[in-house]
């Protein structure tokens, strides 16, 4: 089979086409050569075909189990089920990069279709910047991380996919996450095009918003899937560990959240222009950093298995060129983009400004904690590590006022610096929230910790204030735009998220115990009977399966079957936790090891409302999707050209 060579060749052609796309897209409009501009879209299409061919070849080679390809020999095995053979494509560094490139090609194609109605030169610049990013990634992949390299002689069988990654949620987690990461490349490209053009108006923000919001929605889902996977698969018990890899995906999300709010102000009021640009650059830079930190092996983590320091220099150069280039362009062009209007203190603009400041502070806190160990290491200082005891309080400090601002921001209006009649609504809803929060803290859960009522109050307040405007419009039979529905849904998702986190952080109950089959343990009002232990067999593993009968007040609730698996090829042991939910409380049982004397170590965990955390992320993403589909983002050709003449663009030449 020549599939790997075909894929390799397609990748090289894609590199050339990306170079053309970047050159024609950036140089064409700059020099006013319309024939160059016209060549950009065909280059995009050609590059898409080539990249799709390349990833198709890799997938086909995985399905065929071509162990003469080194990457496949390292990440698959003849016993690996078909679904995971496909997921194994992005199971390690090389394939993830190819997936990244493929998703970038998909986004670029979508953008090429989307910008067809925009002014030609502007569209070409957007595609040119995307071409440049794609070129850099293709070059990096071909030079240092080629997944198509052959192995001579071929391996008789492969080393198998890391068992931790053999899981449905993790099979789709990287594509989701990368779709989000790569989506910020589009916001970055729009920012780059605006800077090259030296012009940024409200129409620009309107063009950029749906792309950014869509990327943000995908990133939200990707992070939630990763968190959910870590919860049930790693068996460490918890939905978030402030692990560097998690932080690497969370930082672009924070920057992206700030960006979509800042874009709203730029769209509605023409303010915060330079700040919006800077956030677009920041969000994408953090996406790049995330991609590389995770897969380059700089960070110690379960995700970064294949450490290869030789890639370090290339990565560093890559980051410096793209981020440094964008910032230089920014320093040169940003002074052209002065906002004309001012704004009032109690207006929505100013609340969104505070929102952005707090999000950036939170981002800085996460960034500092994530990078400190790397920086200390680079400076040959003592090896240090930063964990939850740092992140939890430092992150919560800016986030609590941020949550209060959500309610204030929703109830304020653009331009007007007065809360007016909304002041009363705010106070009434706040009062109701406090009463509800105390009732829930004491009544439902019984005995709060200090921050419990605070968290619940803020969450309920967001729910109530979010619903005021939509209900009012509905009663007055006014139309509600998708933007407003989307925003409301996303904010309700945020409230759900806060409720979940507050409950989990306040009322988690976890213990490790030694238990023999037949024995019963009591914890948090539940009884856990270790009924039996039996052998378990899978396609590429064997192990033991325990049966636990969980009951409450003598009545059985459900049976959970935690497993201990031994994967033959990688010879690694893997815990499969038994998980069930009863009245909102997530119950997790993980089987430890044989302690002798017939006993096993068992981890029992009760986490109330932890499911809300993941559901909330999907609700937020749904809100983003609804908002992005608003009619006002659909561009009519006449409108676009009108915008240009109204904006008075003077093209170079």
């Amino acid at each position: 089979m020549m599939l790997p060579e075909l894929g390799h060749f397609a990748l090289i052609l894609a590199l050339l086409l990306a170079a053309l796309q970047a050159f024609f897209g950036i140089a064409g409009p700059q020099l006013g050569k319309d024939r160059w501009v016209a060549a950009v879209t065909p280059a995009v299409a050609g590059q898409f075909v080539m990249v799709a061919t390349a990833i198709g070849c890799l997938i086909a080679s995985f399905v065929n189990l071509d162990f003469s390809v080194r990457y496949i020999a390292e990440n698959a095995n003849s016993a690996l089920p078909l679904g995971y053979r496909i997921a194994a494509v992005w199971g390690a560094h090389e394939g993830s990069l190819l997936l990244w490139i493929f998703l970038l090609a998909c986004w670029t194609l979508a953008v090429a279709i989307g910008v067809a109605k925009l002014p030609k030169r502007f569209g070409a610049r957007v595609l040119g910047v995307l071409g440049f990013v794609s070129f850099a990634f293709l070059l990096f992949t071909l030079a240092t991380s080629n997944p198509f390299l052959r192995l001579d002689p071929a391996a008789p069988d492969g080393r198998d996919l890391n068992p931790l990654l053999q899981d449905p949620a993790l099979a789709i987690h990287p594509p989701m996450l990368y779709t989000g990461y790569v989506g910020f490349a589009v916001a970055f490209a729009f920012a780059g095009a605006a800077m090259l053009e030296g012009k940024l108006d409200q129409t620009w923000a309107r063009w950029t918003r749906p792309w950014t919001t869509t990327a943000w929605a995908f990133l939200s889902m990707g992070i939630a899937l990763g968190s959910w996977w870590a919860y049930y698969e790693l068996g460490w018990g918890g939905y978030w560990f402030w692990d560097p890899v998690e932080n690497a995906s969370f930082m672009p999300w924070l920057a992206g959240t700030a960006l979509i709010h800042s874009l709203a102000v730029t769209d509605k009021r023409g303010l915060f222009k330079s700040w919006t640009l800077l956030l677009a650059i920041l969000a994408f830079s953090l996406s790049l950093l995330g991609t590389f930190l995770v897969r380059s092996g700089v960070i110690v983590s379960v995700h970064s298995f294949a450490a290869d320091p030789t890639r370090g220099i290339f990565i560093l150069a890559f980051l410096v060129i793209i981020i440094g280039g964008a910032l230089t362009l920014y320093a040169w062009r940003a002074p052209l983009l002065k906002s004309q209007a001012g704004f009032e203190f109690l207006s929505r603009e100013s609340f969104l400004l505070f929102n952005n400041i707090l999000l950036v502070i939170a981002l800085a806190v996460v960034f500092g904690g994530t990078m400190a160990p790397l920086i200390a290491d680079a400076l040959h200082m003592p090896t240090l590590s930063v964990g939850t005891p740092y992140f939890n309080p430092s992150f919560t400090t800016p986030i609590l006022p941020l949550l209060a601002l959500v309610s204030l921001g929703i109830m304020s209006s653009f331009k007007r610096g007065r809360l007016g009649e909304h002041r009363r609504t705010l106070l009434v809803t706040l009062g109701i929230s406090v009463v509800l929060a105390l009732a829930v803290s004491f009544g439902v859960f019984g005995g709060p910790r200090i921050l419990t009522p605070v968290g619940f109050t803020l969450a309920f307040w967001i729910v109530l204030t979010s619903l005021v405007d939509p209900i009012d419009r509905w009663r007055r039979k006014l139309s509600i735009s998708r933007s407003i529905i989307g925003m409301t849904v996303a904010h309700l998702g945020l409230a759900l998220f806060v409720i979940g986190i507050t409950a989990v952080e306040s009322y988690t109950n976890e213990h490790d115990i030694a238990l023999a089959p037949g024995q019963t343990a009591k914890q948090g009002g539940y009884e856990f009977r270790f009924a039996k232990l039996e052998p378990a067999e899978g396609p590429n593993y064997s192990g033991v399966r325990a049966q636990f009968i969980v009951s409450r007040d003598g009545a059985p609730v459900f049976t959970l079957n935690p497993e201990k698996r031994q994967y033959w090829v990688q010879r690694s042991v893997q815990t499969e936790a038994g998980i069930g939910t009863h009245h909102g409380t997530n119950i997790l049982i993980a089987l430890g090891e044989d302690l002798g004397a017939n006993k096993w170590s068992v981890r029992l965990q009760l986490r109330p409302l932890v499911n809300y955390v993941w559901v909330a992320a999907f609700v937020m993403a749904l809100g983003g999707g609804i908002a992005a589909s608003d009619r006002r983002y659909r561009i009519a050709r006449s409108e676009a050209s009108e915008a240009v003449s109204a904006g008075g663009v003077v093209e170079a030449k």
Partner: protein, 168 residues
């Protein structure tokens, strides 16, 4: 000063104060909660401040894992091939914990010089060493090659046979 300017000044000062407070809090939390890494030789040399919580890293010495049958309590020895440190732990050990493998543990020293671990990490796969442990061993001239590691060029036939389960 015009009212507009005054408001802007208040705004800017407010933002600066907020950023300052957040920064100060984060730095305090950082100072209080940062954990340093020590290997058994550094512990033996008395470099760990009294009562400090730290990360201990090294190899789990072969044959050192001891259990009281039926109890969660486990004792093992972490070594860097120059000095040893006994460790006590009473929770579920991670899947990748094994004798002769690298390990990182969080905890404190007690009066008898035993490391009381509250968390044992083995978040790496078995071919892969925690970099800080690898560095510590390298500094001691102990290039450690984990068992079963082979360059991909020499991929040995894997054994899909059920007669060769894990844990060997």
């Amino acid at each position: 000063m015009t009212p507009a300017r005054k408001r802007r000044l208040i705004l800017v000062l407010g933002i600066l104060a907020g950023v300052g407070i957040a920064g100060a809090l984060a730095l305090t939390a950082f100072k209080k909660n940062v954990m340093f890494f020590y290997d058994p030789s550094q512990v033996a040399a008395g470099q760990v401040p009294q009562g400090e919580r730290f990360r201990l890293g090294g190899m789990v010495e072969k044959g050192s894992v001891q259990r009281t049958p039926g109890s969660l309590e486990v004792r093992f020895v972490v070594t860097d091939f120059q000095h040893d440190l006994p460790v006590k732990y009473d929770k579920v050990l991670p899947d990748l914990f094994r004798e002769g493998q690298g390990v990182v543990a969080h905890g404190r020293l007690d009066q008898d010089g035993i490391f009381i671990a509250d968390e044992v990490l083995a978040k790496h796969d078995e071919k892969y060493m925690p970099p800080e442990v690898a560095k510590s061993l390298k500094n001691k001239g102990q290039a450690y090659v984990p068992e079963g590691t082979s360059k991909p060029d020499a991929l040995t036939p894997a054994q899909p046979a059920k007669s060769a389960p894990a844990g060997t």
